[in-house]
Symmetry: C2
Subunit: 217 residues, 2 copies
């Protein structure tokens, strides 16, 4: 994942070996620190130990590199959510559906707080709502955060927690709530809030969404 893991340019070699990956990894490191604006093509080549324009053998321009970095960041969000989902224990279907739904929100916010730069990067370009972004293959999650949320809501519907009208548009409403807290926790006034209080807020928000969507009225 880190630039070091793939290695800088093996010293003395004229051909890098895997410059494309090295550039993307460098881009991810920059994004981690400073968000999408911090992804600078020249700096990426510097970190890879290579001349500035070598990047153009692998990317059409800076935006193409950034795009790939963003896609990778999105996968990282998805992995955080999946990690949270994996912890939901077996239980009655309806309870389980509900628990999984909450886990999606918690995983999302957890990631935003742990990796604010990557989080902002993940949503720098509008997320593709339907198709998964893995052409990358091995190691990458096949699902994006939005799909994980949609699936969770489908399960709630299947479990009878949501009727047809409540289900309609629910992903957008739920996503909004969770995304908003994530953003405010990163760059808004909640930035300075102690972690424990933010945990409470996360729980409270996710519970509110659950209740607001679920209770008929």
């Amino acid at each position: 994942m880190t630039s070091a893991a793939v290695g800088g340019k093996p010293s003395g070699r004229y051909h890098h070996g895997d410059l494309r990956h090295a550039l993307v990894d460098a881009g991810l490191d920059m994004a981690r620190t400073g968000g999408p604006e911090a992804v600078v093509l020249r700096e990426a080549t510097r970190r890879a130990g290579v001349t500035a324009n070598a990047a153009y053998r692998h990317f059409a321009d800076r935006e193409a590199l950034l795009h790939e970095v963003c896609t990778r960041a999105q996968s990282a969000v998805a992995r955080s959510i999946e990690a949270e989902l994996a912890q939901v224990r077996e239980q009655a279907p309806a309870d389980r559906a509900r628990a999984r739904f909450r886990a999606v929100g918690v995983g999302y916010i957890r990631f935003a707080r742990a990796e604010p730069g990557l989080f902002r990067t993940a949503f720098f370009f509008p997320v593709d709502l339907r198709r998964s972004q893995s052409e990358e293959g091995a190691g990458e999650s096949g699902r994006n955060p939005f799909q994980l949320l949609s699936d969770a809501l489908d399960d709630m519907r299947a479990a009878g927690l949501l009727d047809e009208t409540a289900r309609r548009g629910a992903e957008f409403v739920a996503w909004s709530a969770v995304h908003g807290l994530a953003i405010l926790a990163i760059s808004g006034p909640l930035r300075a809030m102690p972690a424990a209080r933010l945990d409470d807020l996360t729980t409270k928000l996710v519970a509110m969404v659950d209740k607001g969507l679920t209770s008929s009225g």
Copy 2:
């Protein structure tokens, strides 16, 4: 409000007359078009018809200008909310409190959609939670969006719609939900959604928040 309203530099005059305001207005115009990153000091002076470094008679640096632009953008959000609040009709206190609460959310999202650049600018610097930002005096709203939301929640509490525990942290939870939809509607995947559908979503979201906070459980 617009640069034209204050006027460019009165031609031929050595002293501008009100350069500070002209620069802020120019900054607001840039922010309106391209968000906070688009607020460029040199361009502001160009628009005011003045040499680049004349700005330094009025602002310490670019950030100082941007800061003032952001404050003004925040006031604009507050005004949008107040416009929405003004339309809430007289009715039983509890109903009215609820209607006013919803109006805050609707006004917030309405502004974000109408002026995405200014909206992003308004929250570029973390909003000051407690104090109102009007040193500006005349014409500026004395309240910021967060205060308007807090007041609405206080009214709901007074009307008996919220108990003590539900009230605690409610502004953050409510704000998150509304802010999230605003952001997704501007720069996220909801960007391309037809206006009517976004209106529905806004209603649905605000109703969800109301219900989620309000119903005891």
